[in-house]
Symmetry: C2
Subunit: 183 residues, 2 copies
DNA sequence: CTAGGACATGTCCCTAGGGACATATCTGAG
DNA sequence: CTCAGATATGTCCCTAGGGACATGTCCTAG
């Protein structure tokens, strides 16, 4: 139920169309909160029906830009302060890591190298983003300040995963002889 | 579609009942791959129907222990090596962080402190687990070696998030006067 | 003037997951 | 003997999300 509040939050920065929002979701939020355009349009219609957003303008190509309403702002703030954070994390790579013992050493090494470079690349992307932000490319509004904080989380998270994948390559595959079974 | 392979992987370590598996999922995997018992039982029945697992024994209280079959083992290995890793990450706390600018400073500080201690606690839990593993409490099988690697990821991930939440508390709320607007 | 491509919004279906509810079985405390 | 509580397995419904498919609109290159 966070797509709803994600949209409201983005609209709190200023009016935007479903298309704009879909682009922002894939560009900025792609790796931490994926959302497909069909869901976005559907949710926008629901939000409009509930009066949390309203059509601000209609443009060419049936474009509809939405604006957040006062009740909409109230709702995002309520969500931010009164609703418990959902800490659910569902990371398939970590689930897989439980079963590394079933892979043979070569495969595992290849896998871990691929994972490491995947995470390293994402971390670098976020780092670039942060550098551009710090250079002032996106201005100095409070919104971009928050974005900077989100980006920092991306950097740290993906760096941690990259380091982990590299570290895992150095872990000895298994103990062939348990300590109590020698002799 | 990973619950399926999670169950197969756990069963590859040895026979277990749905109840056992549910416990393992909440205890070890709770924070990185949540799964409710109804889904687990349903999936086990499907897996049994497809011949990837079979009933190993029936115990008291209608207990059914399952054992992985050869095709089951083949299927986990296929998943581990041939199926692309799903890197989807959906972290509500990061989505929320995009909207920190809508919270007032006090609320935000309280929020970040709560987040930091939440993550710190989880990191500590994983660290304890790792220490127990390193002391040999869980033996030295290849399975526990893999578990150790998974735990390490938990430690690093949650430490990174805790550090981030602490760091975020030191970030100035916003720039009241943009650099080009002074004078 | 016409066709390809970007812009823009949607429908539809299927599966995964959350969570409330139901039920059977066994053990141990009183 | 009885009842609480742990063990153990399920049904059912609802929502969220993934992804294929459909459609309309405008611009621009040829």
């Amino acid at each position: 139920m966070s797509l709803r509040h994600g949209l409201l939050g983005l609209l709190a920065e200023g009016p935007a169309s479903g298309y704009d929002l879909a682009r922002r979701f894939t560009e900025v939020l792609g790796s931490i909160w994926p959302a497909q355009h069909p869901k976005i349009y559907a949710e926008l219609n629901k939000l409009a029906a509930e009066g949390l957003v309203e059509v601000e303008s209609e443009g060419p190509r049936r474009r509809k830009a939405y604006r957040i309403t006062d009740p909409g702002v109230v709702e995002v703030k309520r969500w931010l302060t009164d609703v418990d954070v959902d800490h659910t994390m569902r990371l398939q790579p970590l689930l897989r890591s439980l079963f590394f013992w079933m892979m043979d050493t070569d495969e595992l090494q290849r896998h871990l190298e691929a994972e490491a470079s995947y995470y390293r690349e994402l971390a670098d992307q976020y780092r670039d983003y942060a550098a551009r932000k710090d250079r002032g490319e996106f201005g100095y509004s409070e919104q971009t300040q928050s974005m900077r904080v989100t980006i920092e989380a991306g950097i740290r998270l993906y760096s941690a995963l990259a380091d982990w994948a590299e570290w895992a390559q150095t872990v000895p595959p298994a103990k062939p002889t348990p300590p109590h079974a020698n002799g």
